[in-house]
């Protein structure tokens, strides 16, 4: 019996190992739609342009935990000659850490389209200098989603929202800070609104004493939570909006649009980016330092960040804001598709109220402060 088992395993081992040298492994942290984007859209396009190459797309899970898994896998392979992944799609927090740990390749000089992304996000990931290591795949933004049938005049500031929640108990829902970044973003927005100097939190420099000035904001948030519903995660918030159990909740704009397109949100749902603002963040294309197919990886990213692909794939198919500067997309996209992005959240709103997440040390202080003073 045991010999048979071993024989079987060995046979399986043989069957599984041969992979052609021309395989490009792309790992994406994020929802299934991002994995499918590579699998169905970018992959075939790249394979067509490079005969003999096969693109393999794997997902590592939504949110920061997905990026953390990529980080852990690359870290486990530190001793190997090459890594399993050739292209990784990661969040800001993990990007900063991977750059610090020397896990990423400084590749953008070899990719012509890198010049098209000049925004702050291409250089700075939560306070870590990542220029040269990443090119943004897309930008996303959090905003409040509300059911226009249930909320006639949505609040437009955090203070108004607090008032509204008091008058409509349990009608506002967010996921706290565990299980999804939409809740984290709401909490960060709350601290920006009531915790003092928001600019300093986003730009630095870090001062460990700052966190003591948030006590009042956290105490108010704890009070606010009594009238709020705590939902299970990003999807949980959208879920409750879908069934009409809550009327307002913070969501990722791109998730909101794809849920609506999938028929999982009522057509009368709308978005609102309240002031003084809520954070958003990009996803990054990066190449591991020991990637086996660096040339192919660079060619792949060059394709993925080219204006036409950004217009057709990122904006038109997925309702994401483009990763490269918007000016480059001019003429590549019909106006209707472009305008669709900005129906509820206008470019002016974005410019005024679209914030970055706080730099990493403040970020951690906010999360831990929440755990200590609000959740406990």
């Amino acid at each position: 019996m045991r010999i048979l088992t071993i024989a079987c395993s060995l046979a399986a081992l043989m069957a599984a190992s041969p992979l052609s040298a021309q395989t490009l492994n792309v790992a994406s942290a994020g929802d299934q739609n991002m994995v499918d984007y590579v699998k169905d859209f970018l992959g075939p396009m790249f394979e067509k342009a490079n005969p003999g190459v096969k693109v393999v797309s794997v997902g590592t899970g939504a949110g920061d935990s997905g990026s953390q898994k990529i980080f852990e896998k690359l870290d486990a392979q530190k001793g190997s000659a090459t890594t399993d992944f050739d292209v990784v799609v990661i969040h800001q927090k993990a990007a900063g850490q991977m750059v610090k740990d020397g896990l990423l390749d400084k590749y953008t000089a070899n990719v012509p389209t890198a010049k098209l992304a000049t925004g702050e996000a291409a250089r700075n990931a939560l306070g870590t200098d990542v220029s040269g290591y990443v090119i943004p795949m897309f930008q996303s933004q959090t905003a409040l989603a509300y059911n226009a049938a249930m909320v006639k005049t949505p609040p437009s500031t955090f203070a108004e929202l607090a008032e509204w929640a008091k008058k409509n108990p349990k009608q506002f829902g967010y996921n706290g800070i565990k299980g999804g970044m939409s809740g984290v973003s709401f909490v960060a927005g709350w601290v920006y609104a009531f915790g003092g100097d928001a600019e300093k939190l986003m730009k630095g420099p870090y001062d460990a004493a700052t966190k003591t000035t948030w006590d009042k904001a956290f105490a108010d948030l704890k009070e606010f939570n009594k009238n709020a519903t705590i939902t299970p995660g990003n999807a949980g918030t959208l879920d409750m909006l879908n069934r009409g159990e809550i009327a307002i909740g913070p969501v990722w704009v791109d998730m909101f649009y794809s849920w609506q397109a999938d028929g999982k949100l009522p057509p009368n749902m709308k978005l609102k980016l309240i002031s003084p603002g809520m954070p958003g963040q990009p996803m990054y294309y990066a190449v591991p330092a020991k990637a086996g197919q660096k040339k192919l990886a660079e060619a792949f990213i060059a394709l993925a960040t080219s204006p036409q692909v950004q217009a057709d794939g990122i904006v038109k198919k997925f309702n994401w804001y483009p990763g490269i500067d918007a000016a480059n997309l001019e003429g590549k996209l019909d106006k209707a598709a472009w305008d669709k992005l900005f129906v509820d959240v206008t470019p002016a709103d974005l410019a005024k109220n679209g914030k970055a997440f706080p730099i990493a040390p403040y970020f951690n202080d906010i999360l831990e402060g929440y755990e200590k003073k609000v959740a406990n």
């Binding site: 395993s9 060995l10 399986a12 599984a16 794997v58 939504a62 852990e72 896998k73 028929g263």
Partner: protein
């Protein structure tokens, strides 16, 4: 009067059974509904439009649902064989033989289930990279086996402990060698429990994704990885369909084993 009481009892039993069926089947029905719901939102209590759009999406040419399913089942079957090969001797030793520090050994098998940390998988991946077996089916099978071993060892130990020692002794007195007594008396009597444990190892393997990610991806991808992404991201339609696909091998395995089980129990009755 008696007949009235009897039929009242009957009605009660039937309604209890109906309530039970609702509790059991409701969530699964929910799953099935989601798999064909193209649009479903408030205030509608049932899907607004039905369709097979998402089934087509899962089975699209570039999707690899069927290939992943094949890999998943293959890994699960190997895991069961491997786990049983390890746990039958171990279970027998734990149940029947004098073993020093028995409790400690039992706790050790519990460890992989009870210490739920990805930190461990990172280190396992490190070891496997050094051995050069990361990204193979063997690596995934090893990790799944270690994870499922507690089910097969503990249940096998309990099954062997439940076998009457006198029967074994009787066989020995009739001149059977210890090995022969084991294979003709003890093992068949303990078989139902051991085989049942195989079901759990199988399901455990089909359910696992964290370990698979660290030691298998990207060369080996299984269906639960896809399921995990879809479910966590709130893509209910794709997750429901994937789950329904995963149901098929699980149920087939159960039926297969049940046939096997029944024959065994029947044989035991005659002995």
């Amino acid at each position: 009067m008696i007949r009235l009481a009897a039929s009242a009892r009957m009605v009660l039993a039937a309604s209890l059974l109906a309530a039970f069926a609702f509790v059991l089947i409701g969530p699964i029905l929910n799953l099935a509904l989601w798999s064909v719901a193209e649009r479903w939102y408030t205030p509608y209590k049932l899907p607004v439009t039905y369709g097979t759009r998402y089934w087509e999406q899962v089975f699209r040419p570039t999707g690899d649902a069927m290939a992943s399913l094949g890999t998943s089942v293959w890994i699960a079957v190997l895991t069961v064989l491997f786990a049983l090969a390890l746990s039958i001797p171990a279970g027998y030793a734990l149940a029947r033989l004098k073993l020093p520090m028995r409790a400690l050994f039992m706790l050790m098998f519990l460890l992989p289930q009870a210490f739920p940390s990805v930190a461990i998988y990172i280190n396992v991946a490190r070891i496997f990279y050094q051995l050069g077996i990361n990204g193979t089916v063997l690596a995934v099978v090893l990790v799944h086996t270690a994870h499922g071993l507690v089910f097969s060892v503990w249940i096998a130990a309990a099954a062997f402990a439940a076998v009457d020692k006198d029967l074994e002794l009787a066989a020995r007195n009739m001149g059977a060698s210890p090995l022969r007594a084991f294979f003709t008396v003890t093992l068949p009597l303990a078989a139902p429990g051991i085989i049942a444990s195989g079901i759990f190892v199988f399901l455990e393997s089909l359910d696992e994704f964290t370990g698979t990610f660290f030691v298998g991806v990207p060369q080996v991808t299984t269906l639960p990885l896809l399921l995990y992404n879809a479910a966590m991201g709130g893509n209910y339609q794709v997750a429901s369909i994937t789950a329904l696909i995963l149901l098929v091998p699980s149920v087939l395995f159960m039926l297969f084993i049940e046939r096997f089980l029944r024959a065994d129990v029947l044989a035991k009755v005659g002995a």
